[in-house]
């Protein structure tokens, strides 16, 4: 009798394309670095502290939840650190540590884990964290107040707040080049436009985010802002200003494209992205908030399951 070898038995298919959640998360984080590193250079050690604190606390919250709920440890998939990193990108460099830690708690635990963990969250966890903090501690998200001690070689006011308070005449003070190269006040990773765009294009080419959402988001902003400007140029800023300020680019490339809370069919992706863009400009131009990206995306997250019902008919389907 020859000894039987123990073979691996599993079900078809026996090939896989090699993708994984971990690679997905790591590539998104890597691409985000293009936007974060200029922010770190600009704001120095305090920005480094905020980013580190945000990423590490997000991981620890996830680990703690894994332990308490007796689930397998899931920090290895990189999703928690991705949430932490994106969260830090939206914060001002001077955020106190407890704001950061509370924010990642809300994002990871309330935004993701209590819904059932990765894939089950109806809203983007980062934006859940962000929106709750913005409501709870409004002052810490007033960029002008937060960055009052910085005097960098640029207009040291938050463009969107400036616009809201002083009207459309201030737009001329910001050149497109300045806005693209990070010479504007804002979140740590939200101001260096070129970095966000390049990182985003990389992710689109690699297939880690869906171009349909990003493009329709930007188109939604552009068209809506243009319509406002044409209807009343005295009161409303142009589309380029809206595209390059606040969280617009971050929202288009990194936030609205979060897998679980966005649609997967072609037409729904376009509607979802455009909806985010339109709502953003509506909130900015006629709403009470300075920046509308966070709430616009959350609103479209809410509509996502409904929008995603617009779908092609399966083959062989008679009814």
């Amino acid at each position: 009798m020859h000894s039987q070898k123990k073979l691996i038995v599993s079900h078809a298919p026996f090939w896989h394309d090699g993708s994984s959640i971990t690679t997905r998360s790591y590539h998104i984080m890597l691409a985000a670095m293009l936007a974060i590193i200029p922010g770190l250079i600009m704001y120095g050690a305090s920005a480094v502290a905020v980013v580190s604190m945000s990423v590490s606390s997000a991981i620890l919250w996830e680990l703690a939840f894994n332990k308490i709920s007796k689930q397998p440890v899931s920090v290895g998939d990189g999703n928690a650190s991705l949430i932490g990193l994106l969260f830090a990108m939206m914060l001002p460099a001077t955020s106190p540590w407890w704001v950061v830690v509370t924010g990642t708690f809300v994002a990871v635990i309330i935004g993701k884990q209590i819904f059932g963990g990765i894939g089950a969250n109806p809203f983007n966890p980062v934006l859940i964290g962000m929106s709750i903090l913005m409501v709870a501690w409004k002052d810490y998200f007033d960029f002008d107040a937060a960055l009052v001690n910085y005097d960098l070689d640029m207009v040291m006011v938050y463009p969107l707040a400036y616009l809201k308070n002083f009207g459309v005449s201030i737009v001329d003070q910001f050149s497109i080049i300045d806005l693209l190269t990070g010479k504007q006040v804002g979140g740590i990773g939200a101001t260096f436009g070129i970095g966000i765009i390049l990182g985003g294009i990389y992710l689109i080419i690699r297939g880690f985010i869906r171009w349909e959402i990003t493009i329709s988001f930007l188109a939604g902003i552009f068209i809506t802002a243009l319509a406002f400007q044409i209807s009343d140029p005295q009161n409303y800023a142009g589309p380029v200003f809206h595209l390059l300020t606040g969280y617009t680019l971050l929202g288009a490339f990194y936030l609205s494209t979060e897998d679980s809370s966005s649609p997967v069919n072609f037409i729904p992706m376009l509607i979802y992205g455009a909806g985010c863009g339109v709502m953003t400009v509506l909130i900015r131009n006629i709403g009470a908030y300075v920046d509308g990206v966070v709430l616009a995306i959350l609103l479209m997250n809410l509509a996502n399951p409904l929008i995603d019902k617009i779908r092609p008919k399966a083959i062989g389907k008679v009814a």
């Binding site: 073979l7 078809a12 298919p13 026996f14 896989h16 894939g119 008919k313």
Partner: protein, 437 residues
Amino acid sequence: MIKKTFVGLLKPRLEYDILSATHTEPEIIPAPKKVTILSGTSFERSDAVQLKVGDKVKTGQKLVPVIDSEDYVISTVTGTISSISNYTGNFGRAFTSITIDTDDTEEIDEKFGEICNKPDLANAVDFLGSVPGGLPLKILNDPEKSINRIVIYGMDKDLLMTTTQFVVKTRTDLIIKGIGILKEITGIENITMAVPSSLMHNANKTGADVTIIDKEYPSALPFMIAKEVLGDYVPAGRSLEDMGICLISAEAIASLGAAYTEGKIPVKKVVEIVDKDGSKKYVSVTMGTPVSDVFKAFDIKVKDKDRVIVGGPMTGSSIYSVDYPVQADTDAVIIQDGSKVETVSDYPCINCGECVRICPSKIQVNILVRFLEAGEYQEAADAHDLYSCVECGLCSYVCTSKMPVFQYIRLAKYELANAPAEVEAEEETEAAEEENA
């Protein structure tokens, strides 16, 4: 293994292997010391078995292992039955497994030879149900199914394999004869050959209608071929037979031709062996030969934790023992090195949508899989297109979470197919109990 390309934005294109112009002849493996033959019915009590250990059998002899069963097998060697046992295959399919120790001299059973000069369907059903390639004669003989079109596929259903194409190329004459006999015994004139464009020349020679199959997976799966032939998709939940189509492998047609030409039932199957390094060889092997014998002939070493796959990489099945025999539908045997085996994970769906975008049936796989995970099979079938699935396995192939999506789908179909039977059985026992009371 085909990995995702750098430009992940594009959908992965999986292409069928096309038979190369310089293919090699199959190596012939001598009849093994022992063969195992699986018959499609299992036995519940040992007195239902009418074969005995120690019975002498001849090559080509018809064996009916279980009393009152229609299922029979053809002995592929001359020898002595050494064991008879039940065997359970994938999804609980029950078989009777008959092991035969081979004698040195081969004797051919004469029964088929006596009747083969005038082919008719009843005789074919009686003797040719398990020829290499597998002839679905029962379907053709079933008066309830009105088959009006036979499609012969000359393209392998799964990736990596080229066995069927090889047969089309090298046995065109036998296929022509087989088609002639098929027309004669079934009376069906509407016969189509479905082949890749490279084999169009061979297919044209057969005189059948020719349909060209695209080389992008999954265009050679049964439902996709039916779409090409019919011009429209088979309605969800219906089978090909419901549409009057019977799909037969080109190798089976060649076997049919060979059986009537040579006056004996063919027992040798062409199998493609794919080694760990991806190199491929054809072998001509007696059906029932254990896979281990085939590996030995090519000096392929099987190690612990390797994976041996019978069939193709997308839709085949892995086996737990290399004693598993080569059967009538075993077109390929693939061995994967243990270090390269990708396993599934228990991660949930992250809703990335890769499966939705690649699904050839346009199913909302991301929604479907949530119902399947929860065991809501009926809901999945009613509202989420479970029965539109053509079973290509691409959803599992691209799944970022490495979920066994394809297996969930097959399991759901299996469970649904068996559920009504269970309910009926329960009702019957209840009724019987009431009567007794």
